[in-house]
């Protein structure tokens, strides 16, 4: 049905255009239609996510094996399937506040898995690689080349850059030091050297945050242009017709 598909596509573009205008209208004034659009988004995205969860996970991982078990498929791992079923049932008790605590073991399992993955992820992904990277703040490969080639000005530049990066890293780390030796809030300051390094951190943290903020701003500005271009093209296609 190519015609129907075309009409659907056209309607879709118009609907998308209207929704875009409605959302952007919030910049002028908060309004009821904007709120309606928000609620529509919540509903549609939730419905979509729920359907995908059933289609891609719950059906193949739970329902299908049960169906296969009922049709006497010998390859089904009974223990595994039993665990899946029990855990699912336990979790479903959370729907009913009175019996919800029965489902705690299921959420506890999720929490345990989450904690383990968090620990592994933090160490493998953030802490150790960044320690390695910060340890190489002086970019030794380039520095070696610069010194070998007699580029002493560049070499000095690399040294200064490395020094700044190193100082920023250590200063920022020191900023987060929680403990103090004071016994009351009046004098609750970090140990002296930490306090000194933390001051450096206080200079570098806003610089880092500003660069991150700038990146988000640039991303959203691009998205803004893309939306305006979309509206412009929609308008053009109407005027052309």
């Amino acid at each position: 049905m190519p015609i129907a598909a075309d009409s659907l596509s056209l309607i879709g573009t118009v609907v998308a255009g209207i929704l875009t205008v409605i959302v952007l209208s919030f910049a002028i004034k908060d309004n009821a239609v904007f709120r309606l659009a928000l609620y529509l988004l919540i509903g549609v995205s939730a419905g979509y996510a729920g359907a995908i969860a059933i289609e891609d996970v719950i059906f193949p991982e739970l329902l299908l094996p049960i169906i296969e078990l009922l049709s006497a498929n010998p390859e089904i791992n009974l223990v595994d399937l039993a665990m899946r079923t029990v855990l699912t049932i336990l979790l479903l008790t959370k729907l009913f506040p009175r019996i919800a605590p029965i489902g705690n073991p299921a959420t506890a399992l999720l929490v345990g898995v989450g904690a383990a993955l968090a620990i592994a992820g933090a160490v493998q992904g953030s802490i150790l690689p960044q320690i390695g990277a910060a340890g190489n703040s002086f970019d030794t490969d380039s520095l070696r080349l610069a010194l070998l080639g007699g580029y002493y000005v560049e070499g000095t530049g690399l040294l200064i850059q490395g020094g700044i990066t190193l100082l920023a890293t250590v200063g920022t780390l020191a900023y987060f030091h929680f403990g103090t030796n004071a016994s009351d809030s009046e004098s609750a300051k970090r140990p002296a050297i930490m306090e000194w390094l933390a001051w450096i951190g206080r200079v570098f943290i806003p610089i880092t945050l500003a660069s991150l903020f700038a990146a988000v701003l640039l991303a959203t500005l691009t998205a803004f242009i893309e939306r305006i271009d979309f509206l412009l093209n929609l308008l053009r296609s109407f005027t052309a017709n």
Partner: protein, 247 residues
């Protein structure tokens, strides 16, 4: 995993356990001031006094990833907040953008209601999923904040750039917003727009600062030690690399 990774994790375990056992938080005195927490307390207190609603938003980080830790930090905060405000005229509202988190938030609130002997007043609606995508989540939070249904919001968990819309709503309605996220971009947005922002690992200290357990305080002590070791390693590595080049 390499032996270095295993060693680091083991060291983390050991430090937190040792500090927990020693109860070091008491012995060593204070932690540095984090103004965000002082102001959050003030707002909790005002909210309870005024009978207005507190809002704790736990973010949208799933449990099956590193974001789970930020979510757990948010749950700890929720626990502390709900202990004081659950039986007020307007019990606190917990919102999430992740279904598992909503279940945990319900568990947390339910436990507190039971403790306060008002278990029958608990409703699953006090811990809501407000949207299941990043933007839907912020959309779900904008309305109640814009309509002044909450007097103060603590956004503690995993957020992305959408947090900017939430804080914008907070600015428009002039409600207090404290924000802490494990995402660095969202930390930057929160720094620029929230009344108070938690930067870096301050987010994970929220429970300890609001009166958490020995282990929570011990973990701050442990983090301090690990951080010093890390800083020393970084300096040592950098200098040894440098000496290696120069020689």
């Amino acid at each position: 995993m390499t032996s270095l990774e295993i060693g680091f994790i083991a060291l983390g375990f050991a430090l937190i356990l040792v500090f927990s056992l020693l109860g070091s938080g008491r012995r060593n005195g204070t932690f540095r001031e984090i103004k965000a927490f002082s102001r959050l307390r003030k707002n909790i207190e005002l909210s309870v006094e005024d009978g207005t609603r507190l809002h704790v938003s736990l973010g949208r980080g799933g449990l099956l990833g590193p974001q789970s830790a930020a979510a757990f930090a948010g749950l700890n905060l929720l626990r502390e907040v709900s202990q004081v405000a659950s039986d007020s005229d307007q019990p606190p509202l917990a919102t999430t953008g992740e279904a598992v988190l909503a279940l945990l938030a319900q568990d947390t609130l339910r436990a507190n209601y039971k403790t306060l002997n008002i278990g029958e007043e608990f409703s699953n609606r006090y811990a809501q999923v407000v949207g299941l995508s990043a933007m839907a989540y912020s959309a779900g939070l904008m309305s109640p904040i814009l309509d002044n249904e909450v007097s103060a919001s603590a956004l503690v968990g995993n957020f992305g750039e959408e947090v900017g819309l939430i804080t914008t709503a907070g600015q428009r309605s002039r409600s207090f917003t404290l924000g802490g996220s494990d995402g660095l971009s969202s930390q930057a947005i929160l720094f620029a727009s929230a009344n108070e922002a938690l930067i870096g690992e301050e987010l994970y200290a929220s429970a300890a600062y609001l009166g958490g357990s020995t282990a929570q305080e011990a973990s701050l002590r442990g983090q301090d030690i690990l951080r010093i070791l890390i800083a020393l390693s970084i300096i040592g590595l950098a200098l040894s690399n440098l000496i290696d080049v120069v020689l």
